[in-house]
């Protein structure tokens, strides 16, 4: 992901936080909690320590939350107690934020020895057992509010420091920051103007989560009898219910309401923290696996009628895409027409290319063949393999052709391989699952396949990260051939590879397609690969297929002005012979 050149406005990020329903609810609840606890005298006529009624009196009109073990009004106690719990929570979190912020930002910004030292301090503070230490200190030095706040703050800052440090490190690498530092702006100003606004949302997120943690700790200390005895807090309410046998007396309200209060506030904090975290780590990619499948609609009525009317072909083409339309629904809810009424077909051992600029819908078309569309897609049309409509067969139907009949090679820049399994395991997997091959047979075949793509058999025991980009792409091709497919889909197989390697891969694909009698459907924006590999091509622009024909014809006799533009713009890119390394004359 490339770094933005301009400095994003911090204010815009914060307002987004309020628009997320989770954080909006959370923030509202927190605000409400603070409001009712601060405004406690307005909401209740009793003081928290007033003898308001009978010990363990049941909830009633006058006492909606009932009475506790001293006959005090529980609602009043919840409101006033909230003051202490929230005060401790918020102040302790602020202490943690200040310390953690200083340490984390300094470590992240200055790096080097300062970073090592500060991180060492952070890590060593993390191994200190927090609650036991706080118990010991509270018992030794007494448990005033100030003591509790400082203790919690001092033990909670390491988490904040670590998170901020990683964030600052990545911010530091951004272009505009580097530019500014080159210009000689001093570290203090740099941090203030560039770093702080960027880490502010994250600081808010961790501070909010620390508030929740601090409230928990206060509740824990009060429960162990280490709270401030002169004040009422939610923790002390739970403690007194415990200590004075509220439950056995049938007075569940003395126990439940303070617990619910804590849970509500902590939940609100979690929601806000979660929403901020989600915003900061946006998942730019749509998940490739989802519980919901994309919607399929049959071919449009008019096309269906036409197809029925047309004479049946002697043998259906190996792969035929008929009147394919694909719509994608974006985050805002709008449907984009990504593929418009695309039709083409491949015969046995044909080599067909879909060409176009990025955004032309060619990749989406390719993905549709194997039903690899995300859940926000809607598809209309038919994709026939040996006459059978794959789209109509559902996911189960698709699985019968995936890899066994139609296999795929993805872009060279992609992680087609799982990093935690060996290359060999991943090649062998479809063989054993689809063909029921034994382990030995599958491994032997895998060795054969990697040999075919020019890799040594030792590669099977390697992990993907140990291979270069080119070797990985070869291995991906070997993997695609594992189940002897009849069709090979290739989505920009040479993108992000070196020019030399690109040519080699293309030559490899061509040779394999020839030797193994496989049809190839290639998607690419690179016209050189088209001429090298394919006999026929189709040009796509903005989702529509605007021209189709032999590669030769498209090159030398384009009908559509766009085709002319596209092919004309392609300079005569020299094609390199993989074997000799010499340029192949045009």
């Amino acid at each position: 992901m490339s770094a933005p050149a301009k400095r994003p406005r911090p204010g815009s990020q914060l307002s987004w936080i309020l628009r997320d329903p989770r954080s909006a609810v959370g923030a509202a609840v927190l605000a409400l909690a603070v409001a009712v606890t601060v405004g406690a005298p307005l909401l209740t006529g009793y003081g928290p320590f007033d003898h308001a009624g009978q010990v363990f009196g049941a909830p009633s009109g006058a006492h909606p939350f009932g009475l506790d073990d001293l006959g005090q009004d529980v609602l009043t106690q919840v409101l006033y107690g909230g003051r202490i719990s929230l005060l401790v929570g918020i102040t302790a979190a602020l202490v943690a934020a200040v310390i953690g912020g200083l340490v984390g930002i300094s470590a992240g910004y200055f790096g080097g020895r300062a970073d090592t030292v500060l991180m060492a301090v952070t890590d060593y503070t993390l191994i200190v057992p927090g609650i036991p230490l706080m118990i010991a200190i509270a018992a030794a030095f007494g448990s005033s509010l100030a003591m509790i706040v400082i203790m919690i703050g001092v033990l909670s800052w390491p988490q904040t420091a670590r998170i901020l440090r990683s964030q600052v490190r990545s911010v530091r690498e951004r272009t505009y920051v580097r530019r500014a530092s080159v210009l000689g702006v001093g570290p203090a100003r740099m941090i203030r103007t560039h770093v702080l606004p960027q880490v502010a949302p994250l600081m808010i997120a961790t501070t909010v989560l620390t508030v929740a943690q601090a409230i928990f700790v206060e509740t824990a200390l009060a429960f162990l009898g280490l709270g401030d005895p002169g004040r009422v807090s939610w923790g002390s309410m739970i403690y007194n219910a415990f200590d004075r046998g509220a439950v056995s007396a049938g007075a569940w309200w003395a126990l439940i309401y303070p617990g619910v209060a804590v849970a509500v506030v902590v939940l609100a904090c979690s929601l806000v923290g979660q929403a901020i975290e989600a915003k900061l780590n946006p998942r730019s990619r749509v998940p490739y696996l989802s519980g919901k499948r994309f919607t399929v609609e049959p071919v449009a009525a008019e096309h269906a009628a036409a197809a029925a009317a047309a004479p049946a072909a002697a043998t259906p083409p190996l792969l035929a895409v008929e009147h394919l339309d694909v719509w994608m629904r974006n985050a805002a809810g709008d449907e984009l027409h990504v593929v418009r009424d695309v039709s083409f077909s491949l015969g046995r051992a044909d080599r067909f290319a879909l060409v176009g600029e990025s955004g032309s819908g060619k990749t989406t078309t390719l993905m549709s063949v194997l039903g690899l569309l995300p859940s926000n897609a809607r598809v209309r049309g038919a994709i026939r393999y040996e006459g059978r409509d794959l789209l109509a067969g559902g996911e189960a139907g698709m699985r019968t052709v995936r890899w066994k009949e139609i296999a795929m090679v993805f872009q060279g820049s992609m992680n087609s391989f799982s990093p935690v399994h060996t290359v060999g395991a991943q090649i062998v997997e479809p063989m054993r699952l689809h063909n029921g091959a034994s382990r030995r047979a599958a491994r032997a075949r895998a060795a054969e396949l990697v040999g075919m793509v020019g890799l040594p058999a030792t590669v099977l025991d390697r992990y993907p990260h140990e291979l270069s980009g080119g070797m990985r792409q070869r291995a991906a091709i070997a993997m695609a051939l594992a189940c002897d497919p009849k069709v090979l889909l290739a989505d920009e197989p040479t993108t992000a590879l070196d020019a030399m390697v690109q040519a080699q891969i293309l030559m490899l694909l061509r040779r394999l397609a020839d030797e193994l009698d496989i049809a190839v459907l290639l998607v690419t924006h690179d016209l050189a690969s088209v001429s090298l590999l394919c006999g026929e091509a189709a040009v796509m622009q903005r989702g529509a297929l605007i021209e189709q024909g032999t590669v030769d014809a498209l090159y030398h006799d384009p009908k559509h002005p766009y085709t002319r533009e596209l092919f004309g713009a392609a300079l005569d890119i020299p094609v390199v012979d993989a074997a000799t390394g010499k340029v192949v004359p045009a």
Partner: protein, 562 residues
């Protein structure tokens, strides 16, 4: 009970115990989640004494060594496992235990006692008056050090001798009027077990662990002790007195009242000790549970440091200030809110009864009067509402012990009460030993503490409660640092007065001194509340607790109804 038959029956009884528990265990194993099915030997309907399982959420036996353990439960455990010369009966009168009869001689300075014949310790060794003599002489010898815990039981004792196996002669320095009630507090230890630990300075007596199972002489043998968890006892076949019907008993410690009451309800335990008023009400609604509540043997009070040599906050020594504090505290409100009205109002540390002065009434709450008292003394309220006395604010630290029970609530109520008269109180709750150090410290100089909350046992005989305020107990059990020579003289007089009619007026006068000087401002007598499952008979007959530190009778008589 005939010695021969009891030892022959020994084997038989053991097998029956194992069989019962095994049967119970089988039923537990097959009915893992049966509601209300108690584990252990509590299965209803079986014949025999059974095993009585106690639960306690307040106190914890601190040690098996009587020179170390001071906790009320520990003392009750010693009562049940060691012989004592005398004990209290159901009528709260002194009656015999190991000593069957006694006479005073030599103007009350000699006490001759006849002890049980042919008695044995649980390990089979003979239990004779020589053990008693050894115990008492050792206690006297080291009473300023390792055996200080026995000090209140041997006040005035000079020496003890055992001319034969069943005779014990005690020599006192003065007429021993309170000897019997004091001796009641001294467990008789097996000489053959303890003597090797005396060493040259007696310190070994305190460091001796006395591991369970301990060599016992009482109706029960202490078989298991896991501190903070459980203590188990089984019937002692060698007991010289009436054999208990119980096969054994145990005490399990609980960390919360709710867990304790749930366990009682579910039948996991048979009886709950040391309950408060709130729990009494909870239990009254429960099926199959009986509750007994009545006055107990414990008084609760506000302790005020009374060290006449203290240098700061000298206004605390003024009886008028103390009376103002007493008037500010509404003991009825404390009773209602903390004990739900179950506590017994009282003005004095002496239990309501024979020796308590009826002319002394609990101080009625009178906030206006209290304020007037302090106004008259010239202690004006400052801008923040806190009175100023002799140039410093009347702001004190109130110490409470975690062993007190509901100490947070007590602190809260007292803080509010004293705030009404312009006195600021800062409550601090700490564990038992830290509390003791703070109240008497530093090093028993009695200068640190100001106010504290305390509770003490009071026995039928007032001697113990009165002794707490003597100068002699400074550095011992005297907590407030109160030292008044006139008081000490009167105390000695009542201690040596054998005639009860003559002793009473002296005791009354001592109470009046305490009422006026108020080292402790008593709130009330804590209620003694017990809950037990209905299938147990003979429970709850003793004032105080059935697991008694005063008498062996309750546990000897309790048994399961068939």
């Amino acid at each position: 009970m005939d010695r021969l038959t009891s030892s022959a029956a020994h084997g038989r009884r053991h097998r029956r115990v194992a069989g019962l528990l095994l049967a119970a265990a089988v039923s537990t194993a097959t009915a893992l989640s049966a509601a209300g099915c108690g584990g252990g030997a509590g299965a209803a309907g079986s014949t025999g004494g059974g095993t009585l399982r106690f639960g306690d959420a307040l106190s914890n036996i601190d040690a098996t060594n009587p020179f170390v353990g001071t906790n009320v439960l520990a003392r009750a455990a010693y009562e049940q496992t060691y012989p004592e010369l005398v004990q209290y009966g159901y009528d709260n009168q002194i009656t015999g235990d190991f000593a069957k009869s006694w006479t005073f001689g030599d103007d009350g300075r000699t006490l001759t006692m006849k002890t049980a014949a042919d008695a044995k310790w649980s390990d089979g060794r003979p239990l004779t008056s020589r053990d008693a003599a050894w115990t008492l002489n050792t206690a006297v010898k080291y009473k300023d050090g390792p055996t200080a815990a026995f000090g209140s039981g041997i006040d005035g004792l000079v020496s003890a001798e055992a001319p034969d196996a069943t005779t014990l002669v005690l020599h006192y320095s003065r007429a021993a009027g309170t000897a019997l009630s004091q001796l009641r507090r001294v467990p008789i230890l097996p000489q053959h077990v303890w003597a090797p630990h005396v060493g040259s300075d007696g310190k070994g007596l305190q460091s001796f662990r006395n591991e369970a199972p301990i060599v016992s002489g009482g109706p029960f043998i202490w078989t298991t002790f896991k501190k903070d968890q459980v203590a188990l006892f089984k019937r002692n076949p060698n007991y010289y007195g009436k054999a208990p019907r119980l096969e054994g008993f145990g005490i399990q410690h609980y960390s919360s009242n709710d867990a304790l009451l749930q366990s009682l309800k579910n039948g996991e335990i048979d009886a709950a000790l040391e309950l408060n008023g709130v729990e009494a009400n909870s239990l009254k609604g429960m099926q199959g549970i009986k509750v007994k509540s009545g006055p107990g043997w414990i008084w609760d009070a506000l302790g005020i440091n009374s060290n006449p040599k203290r240098t700061d906050h000298r206004e605390l020594l003024d009886p008028d200030v103390r009376m103002a504090f007493a008037k500010a505290i509404d003991t009825k409100e404390l009773n209602d809110r903390l004990q739900l009205g179950y506590a017994q109002p009282t003005a004095t540390q002496i239990p309501v009864g024979e020796f308590s002065d009826p002319s002394l009434k609990p101080v009625a709450v009178d906030v206006a009067g209290a304020n007037a008292l302090l106004d008259r003394l010239g202690y004006r309220k400052g801008a923040n509402g806190i009175r100023v006395a002799d140039g410093h604010p009347m702001s004190y630290q109130l110490d409470l012990s975690t062993g007190f029970g509901s100490s947070e609530r007590v602190a809260q109520l007292l803080t509010a009460s004293l705030a009404r008269i312009g006195v600021k109180v800062d409550a601090k709750i700490m564990d038992g030993s830290a509390f003791w150090d703070r109240v008497t410290g530093p090093d028993y100089k009695y200068t640190n503490s100001q106010l504290f909350v305390e509770s003490w046992s009071n026995y039928p005989d007032p001697d113990f409660s009165l002794s707490l305020q003597t100068c002699a107990q400074l550095g011992g059990l005297n907590e407030t640092g109160y030292c008044n020579k006139d008081y000490d003289k009167l105390y000695q007089r009542q201690a040596s007065e054998i005639d009860v009619a003559k002793r009473k007026p002296i005791v009354y006068r001592l109470q009046q001194m305490l009422y006026r000087d108020r080292p402790f401002s008593v709130f009330y007598n804590e209620p003694a509340i017990e809950g037990w499952r209905a299938q147990w008979t003979g429970y709850g007959r003793m004032k105080g607790s059935t697991f008694s530190a005063l008498s062996k009778f309750p546990l000897i008589d309790v048994h399961r109804a068939s």
